[in-house]
Symmetry: C2
Subunit: 212 residues, 2 copies
């Protein structure tokens, strides 16, 4: 289906990606609303004006970063939530997945946590939309579960949002665990895993007794 890109288009996408990567790097130590267009182009090694060939503004670039950070995560979410096994096992798997993702893409996770309530409206909205999609998908998977028998739609979505928030909160904690002295890093990571596991377990308990 997808036509092979010409030399031209390929080169364009390459610089575009370079801009995105450079921006993500710069955003580790500042917020999007303070990210300058020249700063980004300087990091890539292109002229400032080249920026406009790809993005209208840094806000526009931010929206693209949201897509890059969360867009490809949907299938992963679906399969993780829907996997079989007892509750305790599923919790452990989900948390392990989060830990691996944070470890593999720390800058993406930091960006989302930072800009979710950040100073750039279009980016906030893009993140909100993506998280709402996650919640919908989690809801759909939860609905298939036997435990959800007799639940109404509102309550399922309520629980899904709780899970999504909890996942994000956990991801943010794993991120913090990556900072600081490397020696105690495994220790901090283990502590976060333990905390998150118990919190998920408690929410799961609430879920089981919801219809009492």
């Amino acid at each position: 289906m997808s036509h092979t890109l010409g030399i031209r288009q390929a080169q364009k996408q390459k610089t575009r990606q370079a801009l995105l990567d450079a921006a993500l790097g710069l955003l580790e130590e500042q917020s999007l609303s303070s990210l300058g267009l020249r700063e980004v182009t300087r990091a890539v090694g292109v002229a400032p004006t080249a920026f406009y060939r790809h993005f209208r503004s840094t806000a526009d670039l931010g929206v693209a970063l949201v897509e890059e950070a969360l867009g490809s995560l949907h299938p992963m979410i679906r399969t993780t939530v829907s996997t079989t096994g007892d509750h305790e096992e599923r919790v452990a798997r989900a948390i392990d997945l989060i830990a691996r993702h944070v470890d593999g893409y720390p800058a993406h996770v930091r960006f989302i946590a930072r800009e979710r309530h950040g100073g750039v409206q279009p980016v906030r909205e893009a993140i909100r939309d993506q998280l709402a999609r996650f919640a919908q998908e989690v809801k759909d998977e939860l609905a298939k579960d036997a435990v959800s028998e007799g639940w109404n739609e509102d309550d399922l979505l309520m629980l899904a949002h709780l899970y999504v928030d909890q996942m994000l909160s956990t991801a943010s904690l794993f991120l913090e665990a990556l900072e600081g002295p490397e020696e105690e890093r495994p220790d901090r990571t283990r502590r976060v895993t333990q905390l998150a596991t118990r919190q998920m377990r408690l929410i799961g308990l609430g879920r089981h007794h919801w219809l009492d």
Copy 2:
């Protein structure tokens, strides 16, 4: 105990407060890391250099804002969590308190939500410390409850953190409900109240069955 301030000190504190207020206003549409010192002084109507008489940098000002936003909240938290009545009543009261606080100090709440994961390290740390104090206090109050019989310290703190996160998440939702057309505002607020109530109820259920 507190000596009455001279004309001089009083005037100083007045401009200091003016700087804080102006900054808080400007921060509704941007992040701290993009807040310029000149921007703030211009809004107040003083010379840029006057800024240095009060703060070393905008990051320093940010830390002061954290204290202003969260410092006075501790007694409120304690009394709210510890009030008597059945669980459902207490949940309703807590959420009502959050709603009122967001309504009364929206800029403070926005600032905390924004800078909790923002681009300025000292500010992040200041917020983290304050939230850790909240969690400790919530834990202390939870411990007094009869339901907490047999709980160990770690689990109590784990639950306290869950409550604190949930409160912040709810506050952020109330904040979003304030935006947009004024007509549907009560409707959006009601929806948030309902969602938060059910989530708190579910967590409460998990709490009751923790020791099963």
